[in-house]
């Protein structure tokens, strides 16, 4: 038996064994989905609303974005690529929105390609598997590069791969970017510690791929932290100034080339960001409001203190995803504290301790440092509470350093005791503070039961801490106990995360209903848009089913589209605001043909609007048919200066007599449209599609006409006569991006050449003497 195992399992203390271990742990984590042949995705959340209601209760509602955004985007990207089109544009969201430019679609990221190659069930598993595996393996490599003991590196890798930050955001692009945090640190170690420069091109690729991974905010934090680490390592290295300068120049050049290579991804994004409503909103904040209350630090110790959205009887919580990212397990947190107390003279420990302090200040608004950091470019507009990624990584590395210290130099009993006392005191203090806060919340469960849960979790924490301390004390004398510690760390993090994630059955994976079939068919035949009440068809769910939903939403939102809907048409874009009755005339003007309401509101609506026609209904929803304007129509030409006002007034008080219709409108793939018209007066073609830079018009297949922005709609000034106009998207920013990326590619080739041929820098005499 033993021989069989030794054949099956690679030799211990090799990278192959680490690969094996992290692979096995990832598979264990995904095993419920694998064994039961389920989708590793929280798509059962659709069962919360009509028309999908059945007996199913969603397992975890806070992971909804995956269902309402990422998976529909992936499906659309996949479909468009299959048709031979690049997924630039999403015609199903509002009046059309950029898809590639929102970055979170992450079309160019290699792990995203899994969805293009495999069916969703397999792709989801592989996607999660590779993410977890890479997170663990890169952390392991970095720790190993720091010279830590083999088992300690494995424990650190396990803790970070299953840290809450990665588990909560596992199917988000955020965790795709986080993969590059340990990788960057590892590469910096390699680049600075060796004269071989093969790692420089790898660093370039790491920067490029982290941009492709699709989450600019996370990317910003990771590049910032990487920069800090790079400066720290250069500072503490015993090289002469010239060598340090050369190293720094190489790293900066590598970063610039890495960013340059990814220009085709970030340039369209910047264009979109510039036109984003959300950016403008954030710029109006007097101070950055994205931080956590201090008592929420308790979630680093007891992650479920405020409940867990996946627990059936304890889903009382506020912003679980945003608050509990810092949890890395009790054992590693304790060891991090020990490292901080005992090893402050070690520069690496000092760096990671400082990083943790900086993270704490930023996440929990520790003044005045919070204020100061927010003065740095980029921080004032970001969700700084999400700096918890960095906190988690720092805590894991610091904890690993602490454990390594115990294993190599022995345990300092006094400092070990102080660490225990501090952690216990902190847990009691923060639990007390958090409990005071809990009392002020109105919750669906009683205060008494919350207290019971909180007591229960506190006991679990205390037992966990006791077990951790016991194992560490044992491991001090017998390193075999480190394997037990690894298991404990996996239970603290991985098993906790396993409960959090959802596996959906085939029936709950974007189920089809009569309403979705009706709407999709109506859109493909008549391009009729849909307005849905409340949470019915949350944004981008329509993208999956193939019909257009006017309540568009992604992380940005087009300002022009927002302004039209908010100020002129009097309906808000965001689903939570659509409970009020919208301006039906404005909806019609916007091309809304179908208005979806829950069946129980049918009578009320019909009483209010007796003229409404029902086009479809079933047990859950009723769809009213509006007299929508077509997707494209012609209005009389006004002087350019008057046009905007005229159109606005038309929208506020639609007069269909002033509108004439086109002969033919065809919506081709990816938003391209073909319009045949005839007119004897100079006039304008208006489409109820979002205006966005890059859209162009071609008259009769030869002459280019400018596409204008009228009330956020695409419009074209029409010559008289009988003509056809093709309106198509030519993403100038993407094209420019490709050019710059290509130029960067040339530099990259030169850089690879330099990296492999570069003269090995000899250490100065002074350094040699020091070494002697």
């Amino acid at each position: 038996m033993k021989k069989l195992f030794s054949k099956l399992i690679p030799n211990k203390k090799t990278n192959i064994f680490a690969v094996f271990l992290f692979g096995i742990l990832s598979i264990v984590f995904l095993s419920p989905a694998i064994i039961n042949s389920k989708y590793f995705a929280p798509t059962d959340v659709v069962r919360d609303n009509q028309p999908f209601l059945n007996q199913t209760t969603p397992h975890n509602r806070v992971t909804a974005d995956v269902t309402f955004q990422f998976l529909p985007w992936l499906k659309l990207s996949k479909d468009l690529l299959k048709q031979g089109d690049f997924p630039f544009w999403n015609i199903y969201s509002g009046g059309g929105l950029p898809l590639f430019a929102n970055m979170q679609a992450a079309t160019l990221f290699p792990l995203t390609w899994l969805f293009f190659l495999f069916n969703f069930k397999i792709a989801l598993l592989l996607y999660a598997f590779f993410k977890l595996f890479l997170l663990g393996y890169f952390t392991y490599l970095f720790l190993k590069e720091l010279g830590l003991k083999y088992e300690v590196c494995l424990i650190g890798g396990t803790a970070f791969m299953f840290a809450n930050t990665n588990i909560i955001w596992l199917l988000w692009p955020l965790s795709s970017v986080i993969i590059f945090l340990p990788l960057n640190f590892f590469l910096i170690e390699k680049i600075l510690s060796q004269d071989k420069k093969v790692y420089l091109p790898a660093f370039v690729c790491s920067i490029t791929l982290s941009i492709f991974a699709g989450h600019p905010q996370t990317l910003f934090y990771i590049l910032f932290t990487t920069g800090l680490y790079c400066l720290f390592r250069l500072w503490e290295k015993s090289d002469n100034l010239r060598r340090k300068f050369i190293r720094l120049t190489e790293l900066i050049t590598a970063s610039v080339i890495g960013v340059g290579l990814a220009t085709l991804a970030w340039l369209p994004f910047l264009e979109y960001l510039k036109l984003s409503e959300n950016l403008i909103n954030r710029q109006q904040y007097l101070s950055n409001p994205f931080y956590l209350q201090k008592f929420l630090f308790v979630t680093n110790i007891i992650p479920d203190f405020f409940g867990n959205p996946a627990y059936k009887n304890f889903s009382f919580m506020v912003g679980y995803s945003e608050q509990t990212m810092g949890y890395v397990g009790i054992s590693l947190l304790f060891l991090a504290l020990y490292a901080f107390i005992s090893g402050y003279k070690n520069k690496t420990i000092l760096f990671f301790s400082s990083l943790l302090f900086l993270s704490y200040c930023l996440i929990y608004r520790f003044e005045p440092i919070y204020w100061l950091i927010n003065k740095l470019p980029g921080f004032s507009l970001n969700y700084n509470n999400r700096f918890q990624y960095i906190w988690a990584f720092g805590a894991v590395i610091l904890g690993s350093l602490g454990l390594n210290d115990i294993m190599s130099t022995g345990l300092n009993k006094v400092k070990f005791t102080i660490s225990t006392v501090i952690l216990l005191t902190a847990s009691i203090f923060y639990s007390w503070q958090a409990r005071l806060f809990s009392k002020t919340l109105q919750t669906p469960i009683t205060w008494h039961s919350i207290t019971n849960w909180q007591n229960f979790f506190f006991i679990i924490f205390a037992l966990n801490l006791a077990a951790g301390i016991f194992i560490i004390l044992k491991a001090k004398n017998n390193p075999k106990w480190l394997w037990v510690l690894l298991l404990l760390v996996f239970f603290e993090t991985g098993m906790h995360g396993l409960i959090f994630n959802t596996n959906s059955t085939d029936k709950n994976f974007f189920p089809s209903t009569g309403a979705t079939v009706f709407l999709a068919s109506d859109f493909s035949n008549n391009f009729g848009k849909t307005f849905s009440f409340g949470n019915i068809f949350l944004p981008n769910l329509s993208t999956w089913y193939g019909f257009n939903q006017v309540t568009d939403y992604d992380a940005f939102s087009l300002k022009t589209s927002w302004d039209f809907k908010k100020n002129i048409a009097n309906f808000n874009y965001s689903p939570e605001f659509t409970n009020d009755m919208p301006n039906i005339k404005a909806l019609e003007f916007f091309g809304v043909k179908n208005m979806v309401y829950p069946q129980e509101l049918k009578t009320i609506l019909l009483n209010k609007n007796p003229g409404l026609q029902i086009s479809y209904q079933d047990a859950q929803v009723v769809i009213f048919q509006l007299n929508a304007l077509p997707r494209a129509y012609i209005v009389q030409a006004y002087a350019a200066s008057q046009l905007q006002n005229k159109i606005d007034s038309l929208i506020i008080n639609p007069d269909k007599n002033k509108i004439s219709y086109v002969d033919k409108y065809e919506l081709l793939k990816n938003g391209t449209s073909l319009v045949n018209y005839r007119t004897d007066k100079t006039s304008f073609l208006i489409t109820n599609e979002n205006y966005y830079p890059g859209w162009q018009a071609l008259l009769d297949g030869k002459d280019n006409l400018p596409v204008l922005n009228i009330s956020g709609f695409k419009a074209v000034s029409l010559p008289t006569g009988i003509h056809s106009i093709k309106i198509y998207y030519y993403p100038k920013s993407f094209v420019l991006g490709i050019k710059l990326s290509t130029a960067s590619l040339l530099f990259f080739i030169l850089f690879i050449f330099y990296s492999f041929r570069a003269r090995v820098l000899k250490p100065s005499n002074k350094i040699i003497q020091q070494q002697i």
Binding site: K294, R365, F366, E367, P368, W371, L372
Partner: protein, 380 residues
Amino acid sequence: MIYLIYFITSFLLALAITPLVKKLAGRLNIIDVPKAPRKVHERPTPLLGGLSIYLSFLLAILIYLNFGNPNFEIVPIKFFLGIIFGGLILVLGGAIDDKYNLPPKILWLFPALASLIIVWSGIGVGITEISNPFGGTIFVGYHLSLVTFNLSLVALLVWLWMMGMIFTTKLLDGLDGLCSGIALIGGLTMFALSLGSRINQPITASIAIILSGAILGYLIYAFNPASIFLGEGGSTFLGFMLGVISVISGAKIATALLVMGIPILDVAWVIIKRLWYRHSPFVGDRQHLHFRLLDIGLTQRQTVLVLYGISAIFGTTAVFLQSMGKLIALVILFCVMLALAMTVVVLYKKKHPHVPDLFDYNRRPSSPGPVKKIYGAGKE
């Protein structure tokens, strides 16, 4: 109740930090060695007491900022940063001076920079009117545009005020616990005044009480016989803090003048005298009132307690007086100072009828004599 917690917190912090700072001063060899005529202590004593007050104050203020829920719309974070960085410059600059005994002509640099930081942070700069003791207000919000600089009169006044306060405590630092004790009385007076319904500045009150707690914690070690001295950084930091508290949100300058009245007038008197006799105003001597009191036979403790008493009386009075009353009190203070100075001179002459007044300039010299730089390594 909450103020008591702040006070105890900073007090305990100072109590814990001061012994550590003493050790640090010993390790860095920042020690004050007894040297006549100004150094009246008997054994080498560690300096850097200012660092211990600064650190205790800093930690307590961080706790206050993060757990005391202050309203940053009234006192912006920038103000606190100004205090923290300004104080840091003084404490570090002071430590450098204590260690390397910098020449007097560059000693004004650190206070000037610290005061500039206060002006930059905006403390007091928003004041456009000050109370007129004879009724109404005086407009001070003038701006002078110089090409690209928009120089505000108030900014200039705040800078001068800060410099004045810093130099007052700097020159006051001559006996064990004198400077810190007077600063403690100043801090407590500011606290009481800020809590009153007329001023009602809870944030200023918190800063003042935190400072007072830190000073008291330090004073336990620094009262005669002192085991640690403030040092250059400490003496300037205390004046700096009193200066800041009196201009933050306004309305406390007259009170500061009253509490610090005796030292201010003493300093003014000595500086005028030094200038008259063409001596550097930055070079120390034994002209100060506290040295005079020692010379007439009072012990260090008695001298310090007399000066505490005068400051406390005027401080307490200031809390209850309106603008006009404060003006009258200032006049009385001036008279008290004059009477005190005269009494000291008379008593000194009586006690030493045949001893020439070593430190009195009985005639104006044509040029300043050789001056030994003994000023700087402050002594309490």
